[in-house]
């Protein structure tokens, strides 16, 4: 007897849950050959708004966790990713048209990138912070702190999993929470990645994934007063100067688009931090 396959419903990821879009919309995800693969939820501005609320709620807990603990939690994600490699390889081959070898290489690169950033969790402060020389009996220390809630547009034309990972990992490391719009035409890996998040130790709301159109969502993101920084990595094809102008209204930090996949660097971590300088007496002389 033949069996009916059970296709997966790809939904959004908000606050640790997988809701459908409040708008009720979906869009078709096709293979490179143009064949129907799945329906993905087409996120709306209200989904985005809900995601920002979830991210804001989760932010104090995530940034309040010790750096060591955040590193452990992030490392755990890489472990779970490793165990689900086959699923990601399959989705990448199907939607991006990669060969099995290319797809496997992308998943490996994504896991390695994640590990690379996870390692920085309890180290970036030491490297990016400093003791400033002052002429008095004080310590003057500058330390980077997470910015808060970060909105991100993942790369839209390069590897869907690697691009997503290279975008959100540096945001999360320092204790920010993120609302990310993944690659529009290849959102399946992002939702499968969200399933990894949901089954590892990341608190709900730390990562929120809104699949859909960056052109529709980015302006709402840029003008949202409760988003503290905006990563325009994958916004190269949008009118990103206007997005930066809208973001400036609420003094939102922005990071300009990149070609391809953002290179792993400490600068991407510190781009989403604020420097706090503190004075402290050296002794009671």
């Amino acid at each position: 007897m033949s069996r009916l396959a059970v296709p997966k419903t790809y939904k959004l990821f908000i606050g640790g849950k997988f809701p459908r879009s409040e708008s009720g919309r979906v869009y078709e995800v096709n293979s490179v050959a143009g064949e129907f693969v799945a329906n993905a939820a087409q996120g709306s501005r209200k989904d985005m708004r809900d995601a920002v609320v979830a991210a804001r709620t989760a932010q104090p807990g995530w940034s309040g966790a010790t750096a060591y603990n955040r590193g452990q939690v992030l490392y755990r994600i890489a472990e779970v990713l490793e165990g689900r490699k086959a699923q990601f390889v399959e989705e990448i081959m199907l939607v991006e048209g990669s060969s099995a070898k290319e797809a496997a290489a992308q998943v490996d690169a994504a896991i390695d990138t994640w590990i690379w950033y996870a390692g920085w969790a309890d180290k970036y402060t030491q490297v990016a912070g400093q003791a400033n020389p002052v002429s008095g009996p004080y310590f003057n220390l500058s330390v980077p702190e997470p910015t808060g809630v970060v909105g991100a547009i993942a790369p839209q034309s390069s590897g869907s999993l690697l691009g997503l990972v290279a975008t959100i990992a540096p945001i999360l490391v320092s204790g920010n929470t993120v609302v990310v719009v993944p690659r529009e035409d290849a959102p399946l890996t992002a939702i499968s990645f969200a399933e990894v998040m949901a089954t590892s130790d990341v608190p709900g709301g730390v990562v929120n994934v809104i699949t859909g159109s960056p052109a529709e969502l980015a302006p709402w993101m840029a003008s949202h007063a409760d988003i503290n920084a905006l990563d325009l990595a994958g916004a190269g094809n949008l009118d990103w100067a206007s997005l930066q102008i809208a973001a400036a209204e609420t003094l939102m930090r922005t990071l300009a688009p990149v070609e391809g996949i953002p290179a792993s660097s400490l600068n991407r971590i510190t781009a989403f931090t604020e420097v706090k300088s503190v004075w402290h007496t050296k002794s009671l002389i």
């Binding site: 920002v52 804001r56 709402w220 003008s223 949202h224 007063a225 409760d226 809208a246």
Partner: protein, 324 residues
């Protein structure tokens, strides 16, 4: 039409007969009706109207053991200018504080102390051993008189739930009558009396209906759901039930009684549902400060965020409203 006995004619027996004769509440129907009314979609200009109406109906509240005169002055400042970034924002109806903070609130309000129907801000005080109500009648009366003497325009009293639940309705009734008398000022006017039923402790909808009628019979100007100190506080079905009692009272006597849901209403979306329930049950003429109030503290900030969103077109953040 139910015939309403006069306060002076009531005895323990006739009160009990009256309350027992009230029909039971169809709980499933009530909740379904409330849920159905909660699905209305209020958008654009209606939403703008609803938002300003909600602000005008808020009793901005601080009822903490840690309240200081400074905190009460801050609350009053917020009541007068809810959003310093947009001076077209209306003022709230009243500030609601503990009795010993009334003088501070009155002083802070200055010229703006007055009738919310005329755009001013009232001072409401909780009294009668709020929130538990566990003290003697003499103390409850003294508590009330003190707040009224200090300048409170409205008294939020709690009923004796212990007496109510043990079936001693007459005691509850007499206490409300006594507190109402204590609300009287030297010039013959009296402070508005809001009777808190604390529906979260009354257990059943039937009890809420009985308590509502009891409070109206005893002369309450308002019936209020909760103290905010007990969960569940205000819910949509309970408020609907109380509004129905108020509607029936109006039909029988021609007298309009106010309703105040309090506690647990934190978002604009929730508050709008209450407006819909009021409009559909007793009519829009009830959406004025002397007939409907929200007892709330954090609700105002959410309403202001929504108001800012409507005005600017983009989503606002908690950075743009005051910390409470």
């Amino acid at each position: 039409m139910r015939s309403i006995p006069a306060v002076s004619d009531l005895t323990a027996e006739s009160l009990a007969d009256f309350l027992r004769a009230l029909p039971g509440v169809d709980a499933v129907g009530l909740e379904a009706r409330a849920a159905d009314l909660g699905t209305r979609s209020i958008k654009t200009s209606s939403k703008a109207w609803a938002i300003d109406t909600i602000i005008k109906l808020i009793d901005l509240t601080t009822l903490e053991g840690a309240d200081t005169p400074g905190k009460v002055r801050t609350l009053v400042a917020k009541a007068l200018v809810p959003d310093a970034g947009d001076l077209s924002t209306p003022t709230v109806a009243a500030v609601c504080v503990y009795g010993d903070m009334v003088a501070t609130a009155v002083e802070a309000l200055g010229d703006m102390h007055g009738d919310p129907d005329q755009g001013k801000v009232s001072v409401a005080a909780v009294a009668t051993a709020f929130p538990s109500g566990r003290s003697s009648l003499a103390i409850k009366i003294a508590d009330t008189q003190e707040a009224v003497a200090a300048g409170a325009d409205e008294i939020d009293m709690v009923i004796d739930r212990g007496a109510f639940l043990s079936g001693d309705w007459w005691t509850v009734f007499q206490q409300i009558v006594a507190v109402k008398e204590a609300c009287r000022r030297a010039d013959g006017t009296h402070a508005h009396l809001k009777v808190i039923l604390e529906t979260g402790e009354l257990v059943t909808y039937d009890n809420v209906r009985k308590a509502s009628w009891l409070a109206m019979l005893a002369g309450g100007d308002f019936i209020k759901t909760s103290t905010g100190k007990v969960a569940p506080a205000a819910t949509l079905p309970v408020t609907l039930l109380m509004l129905e009692a108020v509607r029936d009272w109006y039909a029988a006597t021609g007298q309009r009684i106010g309703v105040k849901p309090a506690g647990g209403i934190k978002t604009t979306k929730d508050a709008i549902k209450y407006l819909v329930v009021v409009a559909e049950t007793v009519g829009e003429e009830w959406l004025v400060p002397h007939l409907f109030r929200f007892g709330a503290s954090s609700l105002l900030n959410d309403v202001l965020l929504q108001r800012q969103k409507l005005a600017s077109g983009h989503y606002s953040s908690a950075d743009y409203v005051t910390l409470d």
